[in-house]
Symmetry: C2
Subunit: 314 residues, 2 copies
């Protein structure tokens, strides 16, 4: 389809998008009415909103539409997992220039659907409006399945700090693309399509995780939120992190610090959590530090001095 | 406060906004974690997303920040009411240029809170990001309180068509402002702050409404959705509409058609519904037509020939 979204028109575009979205058991009433209805079996719904802006959170020359859909969904589904919940549905607001190819919007919708399929969720509704800037606003809903939520405020001195999922891969991919390269492909692809360890969120909750966050801004920055909210100090040991060989090679070529990618790189949507010390952690989780009395986040005993986490107004 | 949102920074801005948001009983965990938790007492949540774009849905020289907050909330809360549900919470994504005055963002948040207060809801979470275009994306959540939802597809031949709330006031206000006038104030204010009849949504559901919509694009356009979804014809009678004196006077001054405002004007967020013919309608509802076999929407027996409803890509 070569038409622009402006040529296709709002209602035809919405119909075409909706036809690509699929459905899931938790979505009791999907797109097409004033609102959707989503199951919330334990009487509570977990809800989170993230906004992605072209040029800031994605670039159309770096990522194709399907990748952007995957990323937009992943950023939100991961927030649900970080509460210990299972995602049930997305609502998607698309603000688009009228000259956007309709095919881009449709492929982006397919990316949303494919990412939702990974967790058994689906897109339940949304809105499409005209805007000079391409903005994708996603709200994810989820179910705690009767569990208590894992917030940021429950970390206790003595707890272990552990991470699940990739750290620094998207930052390494961004460094590659920013320098005008297109490989290593595995790093570039990690930026285009994060692979959040969705199932580890509810699993961590079931294992008794005391605090948990989605690593979207960078491990040091996001664990810092746990330190503040819990009123504790988090001590990380850099030895505990495995530095992938691709990082070492690429960092050397780019004259970059691979530990900065690991510790401060965002957008991988790993999960970071604290657990009681006697927990029997599954393989997906790596212990990288400990919770102590005090405040702040220390790496090898010092405040982290490398480049900071990602901030929306930097 | 004279700082811009860029000068204040993402986290300080979020903190300042959050301090203005208040809370409500249904929000079990509010802003500050990876996701919010909202009560969904009957095991279902109603959810709707609307996106407002500066220059398209609001203008900063026509509406102050507080008004924009009211409008952004109202557009979404009204969608929840149109399902027969009671709003419980909003999630708000703000994509903002860094030179936006921080005071604008904070007053907009106060407008959101004030509109939420009208229905006992509150803002449960959100996101703030940088964008060249000012975009406000709002997701509203609500509770059906055990009732069945009132969709667009249940209208039956023989049903009455009735409306609650203001029709055409925002369109008249827009006509006034577009022509460079600032009065009648009551019309301009109607554009700035819609007054949706929120409580009439659940009440209509309890009275047995067979179909219902929020009138956001215009009565003819939005009732047209009921006609299509229900597979029926809706016949409106123009005599049934009360034309306010302000409309008559202003339409004469602007050489406009007041019936076009009533029938095709959007953004008032009235409710339009169909009811079984034996219903005992409360005063807030006015009967304006009937449901018949057939298809489409007729005004005085003819397809509506006036200016069409609002469309996002027009």
């Amino acid at each position: 389809m070569d038409a622009t979204v402006g040529e296709l028109g709002e209602f035809a575009l919405i119909d075409a998008i909706t036809a690509r979205l699929g459905s899931s058991a938790a979505v009791l009433l999907g797109p097409g009415d004033d609102a959707a209805i989503v199951a919330a079996p334990d009487g509570r719904v977990v809800a989170s909103t993230d906004v992605l802006v072209e040029g800031r959170h994605f670039r159309r020359n770096w990522s194709d539409a399907r990748d952007v859909g995957h990323r937009a969904a992943a950023a939100n589904l991961s927030d649900i997992a970080a509460m210990g919940a299972v995602p049930t549905a997305l609502l998607v607001g698309l603000a688009t220039p009228p000259d956007l190819p309709a095919s881009w919007a449709l492929e982006m919708a397919e990316g949303l659907r494919e990412e939702c399929d990974l967790v058994g969720a689906s897109v339940a509704g949304g809105d499409v409006v005209r805007s000079d800037t391409l903005v994708i606003s996603v709200t994810a809903l989820g179910s705690l399945e009767g569990r208590e939520p894992v917030t940021r405020s429950g970390a206790q001195p003595g707890d272990l700090v552990a991470v699940a999922g990739r750290l620094g891969w998207a930052a390494a991919g961004l460094a590659v693309l920013t320098r005008g390269f297109r490989s290593p492909r595995v790093l570039v692809d990690a930026l285009r399509r994060p692979a959040p360890p969705y199932a580890e969120g509810p699993r961590a909750a079931a294992l008794g995780a005391t605090a948990m966050v989605d690593v979207s801004d960078g491990l040091v920055s996001d664990l810092g939120h746990i330190a503040v909210a819990s009123g504790v100090a988090l001590r990380l040991s850099s030895d505990a992190f495995h530095v992938p060989q691709e990082f070492v090679d690429t960092a050397r070529a780019l004259n970059a610090d691979p530990m900065a990618w690991l510790l401060a790189g965002g957008d991988d949507h790993a999960l970071a959590a604290t657990f009681p010390p006697d927990v029997d952690l599954p393989m997906a989780w790596s212990v990288v530090g400990r919770v102590e009395d005090g405040e702040g986040l220390l790496v090898d005993g010092e405040p982290y001095a490398g480049p900071g986490g990602w901030t929306s107004f930097a």
